[in-house]
C-alpha cells in the first residue's frame, strides 16, 4: 500500500488518506493528535488555536489595568479571578496547540515578533471602571458566540478545551453585565460612565466577529473542517439581536442611529461598520497595539533569568538523584 492510498477492502475502491480524513470529519468523528491529518489542517489549527491562546494572554492586559484600582474588595477579587481564568484558558489552549507539534516557545516567538495575530479588541484602552463591565458584557458576549460552536469542532483537544473555556466565559459575561446593571442603576455619574463605555466598546465588539463574509478568506475551508459553523455575518447578527434587548433592559442606548427592528426578517438592521478602523487596528496601528506587545515582550524578557534559574535548578536536582542512584 502506498503512503497516499490505502485500499478500502469492502468495496475494492481506492481512497486516499485525505478522503478518509474528510469522511471522518463529515461523520463528526474527532481527530486526535496521533491521527493522520493533512498538513493544511494542522497549519490552520495551529494558526487558529494559537491566535485564540494569544488573545487570552493579551486580553489579560486591558483588564489587568484595573485590578489595583477596582472600586470595592468584592469587585477586585472578582476581576482578579477573571483575569486568572484567562491565563488558565491561555494555558490549556497553548497545550492543545502543542499537540500539533509546535512548542510554546515557538508560539510566543510568533506572538512577540508580530507573526501571529490576536483579537484586535484588546488594542483598545480601558479608561474607566465601566470598561470592565463593557468588556465582560460585550467582548466576552461576542467571544461566546464565536466559541460555542467550537465545542463541537473536529480537532479533539481544541473541542475539549473549548467546553471548559465556554463555561467560564459565560460566567464572565454575566459578571460584566452585572457591573453594567449596577452602574446603570447608580448615580448620574455612574450611568454616564456606563453609557460612555458602551459607546466606545460597541463597534469594536461588532468588528470582533470578523470581516464581512465577502472579505473573509478562511471561511469556506473552516466551515468544512467545522472550525466554523456559521459565517461572520450570521454570528454578528446573532450578537446584535441578543445584546440590544439587554441594553434596553438597563436603560442604555446602543450608539447606532440606524439600529432598527426589522419585523420581516425578525432581526435588527444596523448601521455601517467602519472597516477602515478595523483594518487599521488589525495591521498594528490601533490605540494600544504597541503597548500591549511591549508589555508581553517585557514580561517575557524580564522573566528569562527566572525561567533559566528554574531549569538549572531542576537539572541540578536531577543530577543529584542520579548520583545517589549510582
Amino acid at each position: 500500500m502506498s503512503e497516499k492510498e490505502i485500499k478500502n477492502h469492502g468495496t475494492g475502491q481506492s481512497l486516499s488518506l485525505e478522503e478518509i480524513f474528510e469522511q471522518r470529519i463529515a461523520r463528526d468523528e474527532k481527530i486526535e493528535p496521533k491521527d493522520w491529518m493533512p498538513e493544511k489542517y494542522r497549519k490552520t489549527h495551529i494558526r487558529q488555536i494559537s491566535q485564540h491562546a494569544h488573545s487570552e494572554i493579551i486580553g489579560m492586559l486591558p483588564e489587568g489595568n484595573w485590578i489595583t484600582r477596582a472600586p470595592s474588595l468584592r469587585r477586585k477579587v472578582a476581576l482578579l479571578a477573571k483575569v486568572q481564568d484567562e491565563a488558565g484558558h491561555g494555558l490549556y489552549l497553548y497545550s492543545a496547540c502543542e499537540t500539533l507539534g509546535i512548542s510554546r516557545e515557538e508560539l510566543y516567538e510568533q506572538l512577540h515578533t508580530g507573526k501571529a495575530k490576536y483579537s484586535s479588541i484588546f488594542n483598545y484602552p480601558t479608561i474607566t471602571w465601566a470598561d470592565m463591565g463593557a468588556i465582560g458584557w460585550l467582548v466576552d458576549g461576542a467571544a461566546i458566540i464565536n466559541q460555542v460552536p467550537l465545542c463541537s469542532t473536529s480537532y479533539g483537544p481544541y473541542a475539549r478545551a473549548m467546553i471548559r473555556v465556554c463555561k467560564e466565559e459565560s460566567f464572565h459575561q454575566r459578571q460584566g453585565y452585572e457591573i453594567m446593571i449596577t452602574l446603570a442603576n447608580g448615580t448620574p455619574e455612574q450611568k454616564e460612565m456606563a453609557q460612555d463605555a458602551l459607546n466606545r466598546w460597541w463597534w469594536p465588539s461588532l468588528m470582533m466577529l470578523g470581516p464581512t463574509d465577502a472579505e473573509s478568506v478562511h471561511t469556506a475551508q473552516s466551515m468544512k473542517w467545522k472550525l466554523k459553523r456559521k459565517t461572520n455575518d450570521e454570528l454578528r447578527q446573532q450578537f446584535i439581536d441578543q445584546t440590544v434587548p439587554q441594553a434596553e433592559l438597563i436603560g442604555l442606548t446602543i450608539p447606532d442611529p440606524d439600529l432598527k427592528w426589522n419585523e420581516e426578517k425578525g432581526s435588527y438592521d444596523f448601521g455601517e461598520i467602519d472597516w477602515d478602523e478595523f483594518w487599521q487596528v488589525v495591521k498594528g496601528h490601533g490605540p494600544c497595539n504597541k503597548e500591549r506587545m511591549a508589555a508581553r515582550v517585557n514580561a517575557w524578557e524580564k522573566g528569562e533569568w527566572v525561567r533559566d534559574a528554574a531549569m538549572a535548578y531542576a537539572k541540578k536536582q536531577e543530577d543529584k538523584k542520579l548520583k545517589k542512584a549510582i
Binding site: I57, S72, E189, Q190, A295, G303, E304, W305, A310
Partner: protein, 251 residues
Amino acid sequence: MKNENKIQYIYGIADNALILGQRLSELCGHGPNLETDIAMTNMALDLLGQTRSYYQYVAQLSGDGKTEDDIAFLRIERQYKNVLLVEQPNRHFGYVITRQFFYDAFHLLLLEELQNSDDETVAAIAKKGIKEVSYHQRFSSDWMKRLGDGTEESHQKVQEAVDDLWKYTDELFHMTEDDKIAVENGVGVNTAALREKYDQRIRDVFEEARITIPETKWFQKGGKQGIHSEHMGYLLSDLQYMQRTYPNMKW
C-alpha cells in the same frame, strides 16, 4: 477587651494581607511564565479573601455602619497598620519571592497560634487561612531554592533582594500596645515567641538555597504605628482611586 483594641489588633494582621494582596495584584498578567502568573494571582486572591473576612468582622465590631470597603479604601495612610515589608515594591521577581517568603514564614506561624484564639471569629478566619498560607509558604520556599541555587545571575539577584529586605523582617515580631492587650485577653498571639521557629525556618531554606544571611544589625520599623515608607502613598493612590473620586456610591 475593648472593641477598639480588638479592631486595632485585627488591623495589624488584616492590613498586611490587603497590602501584600495589592502588591501581588500588580503582577497579574506580567509574570515570568503563565504557571507562575496563575500561582501568584492565587496568593493575591487568598490574601484578599482573608482581608475581607477580617474587615467584615471589624465592621461588625465597630457597629458604626462602616463597611469592609470603607475600611479598605477610606482610611488615611497613618491608619493602615501593615508592616513595612509588605508594602515594598515589586522591583524584580527576586524581590517578589523574597518578600513573600519572609512574610509567609511569619504568617503561617502566626495563624497556627491564632486558630486557638478565644475570639471565635478570629480563630475561624485563622484556621481557614492555614491551608492557603501553607501553600504560599511552599511556593515561596521552592522559588527561594530555585533562584538561590539556580544560575549565577538568579543567585545574585535573590541575594540582593534578601540583603535589601532583611531590614524589614525584625518588625514582624514587634508587639504594639494593642497586640499586648490582645495577648492578655487570650485573643492575640505573642509574636515574640514565634521568633525562634521563624529563624530556624529561614536558616533551613537559606541553607538549601545557598543564600547568605545578612550580617546587618540595623532594622527598620514604623508600619505598625502607621509610619510607612514613601512607597505606601502611591500604592494607596491606586487602591483608593475610585472610592476617593466617586464617594458614597455602590459598585
